[in-house]
Symmetry: C2
Subunit: 306 residues, 2 copies
């Protein structure tokens, strides 16, 4: 059922060597390749056939769902709308990700629009990796959207990364936080060549004692360009923090625009950002340990994106 290329892509985006344990839904070239549900986690196609609905029963603990997407069909631009309903008190890990293999000159692309409804006191860990491989010159586009709605006391950890090979990305993350809920978003994006990546983030702190923390790590190589926007809007007693760091190499270009909007007197918002080259003293230290220049740079970047 999985050929060698499929396996390479699944390994890259979801650390999968074989069909995963537990619930999963594997999509290849716009079609279902395989699906498994569990006693607590249901996966169904949505009403209009544009994606899937994943429902996690209240109280489900220590379960995971793999929903990787792989794409290797020239000219295909795949769009899916997936909904995740995580029941009260559940604790679940969802591993998503999209791998594109481009062998020719035709463009290939994927857009996953993911909506998360996280119930009271439920916890979600969501991991999403994006990568594009292959010798083809076709444009590879990956435009992910996540929309997170956090009920009272809910928690979401979103680990979002674009590892390389993606020519164009328009990334959008939105979150609405209820009372006592929290979200941690970590986004890591590496671009090279003439690649472009834009990340927009809209975080609405609506509930008392809600917390949002967003960390962005960008590595901008070659002639690539990355733009990062955050709108952190506080409408309650709450805490929000933005941290964005970019390493520029070669002729990379980076723009960072974080907006902090304290619309409530008990809001507490903070921000740190830095954009620059790799520090020379860090390079010198690694090179003095016997690493070459390129090895040292690589080591630092891997650490930065870890």
């Amino acid at each position: 059922m999985l050929d060698a290329l499929d396996k390479e892509l699944l390994k890259a985006v979801a650390d999968l060597e074989r069909i995963p344990k537990g619930a999963y839904n594997i999509r290849k070239n716009g079609k279902l390749l395989g699906r498994e549900v569990s006693a607590n986690i249901d996966i169904e196609s949505n009403a209009d056939g544009t994606g899937i609905v994943i429902t996690v029963k209240p109280g489900t603990k220590n379960e995971s769902v793999h929903i990787p997407v792989i794409l290797s069909q020239a000219g295909l631009h795949d769009v899916v709308y997936n909904t995740f309903v995580v029941g009260e008190d559940a604790d679940v890990t969802i591993i998503a990700g999209c791998g594109i293999h481009c062998g020719g000159s035709a463009p290939e692309g994927h857009e996953g629009i993911h909506e998360f409804r996280i119930g009271r006191n439920a916890r979600l860990k969501y991991v999403e990796k994006h990568v594009a491989l292959g010798p083809g010159k076709g444009k590879r586009t990956l435009n992910p959207t996540t929309k997170v709605f956090l009920d009272e006391g809910a928690y979401a950890e979103m680990a979002l990364s674009q590892l390389g090979g993606v020519d164009e990305a328009r990334r959008l993350n939105t979150a609405e936080l209820g009372p006592g809920s929290a979200i941690q978003i970590t986004e890591r994006v590496m671009t090279d060549g003439d690649q472009r990546a834009e990340s927009r983030n809209e975080l609405l702190l609506l509930g008392t004692d809600s917390k949002a923390n967003i960390v962005s790590r960008s590595v901008v190589k070659g002639n690539s360009k990355q733009d990062f926007y955050v709108n952190l809007e506080a409408r309650a007693k709450c805490y929000g923090h933005i941290e964005c760091d970019a390493i520029i190499m070669d002729n990379g270009i980076s723009e960072t625009v974080p907006a902090l909007k304290a619309l409530h007197p008990d809001a507490e918002l903070t921000h740190e950002a830095s954009i620059g080259k790799i520090a020379n003293d860090q390079l010198m230290k690694l090179m003095s340990l016997g690493l070459t220049y390129d090895e040292s740079v690589n080591r630092i970047i891997q650490g930065f994106l870890k």
Copy 2:
């Protein structure tokens, strides 16, 4: 020549108890109240009569110019266009500022549009204070603009403050930095009641080894609102830093939107921001020393805006 009210305003905006030493130009209710030039500093009305041109001779050292504006005429909205030409290697201090006294229900306002051309290796210290006083209910508006052009090796220190009483402010600061030049902007704005203040800052780092540092301190009391924007754009090997801190009290609202644009691979840009209430432990400490709550708050705010 100066009545009691004039003196009160001049003291508030320019620390002047009497007519200053050195060059000065005092403007009252849209008209010239007094002018003095020095051997090195010339002041002339501009060609179209809309303001003054202040010319500082190359090499001038340790001289100052006072150019306060006072306003106490109901219904007057005074607009001036002033130009400051600071010659090579000069080192000069310019003390500007505008004080409004409002006694009735008619609005009063002032807009000073100030353009600075700072020659090679010249140094400018520019101090501008804004304040509005008086029992009147008329709307007090102060919309200052500074446009700074820094030649090679030039340095500008801009200390800009709005101390209170101003109902509406649209503040704009722009700077274009040549090679090896540097600018330090410190803006302090306090609002209360239903006051609104907006500060826009556009800093263009054009020259190699140019440096920009902008610090914003906001105190947002009552139902007031402050918006702070920076666009820090790096087009050369350069260094830029933004620091914006806001203290929110009562029902104050604050928005901070700093944009960091690294358009050159050797640009280094950093940013820190925090918006929040006064820390409780700071208050407790002062109150344990015998200060009342209000005294403690006041002490902290004065320190923050110092």
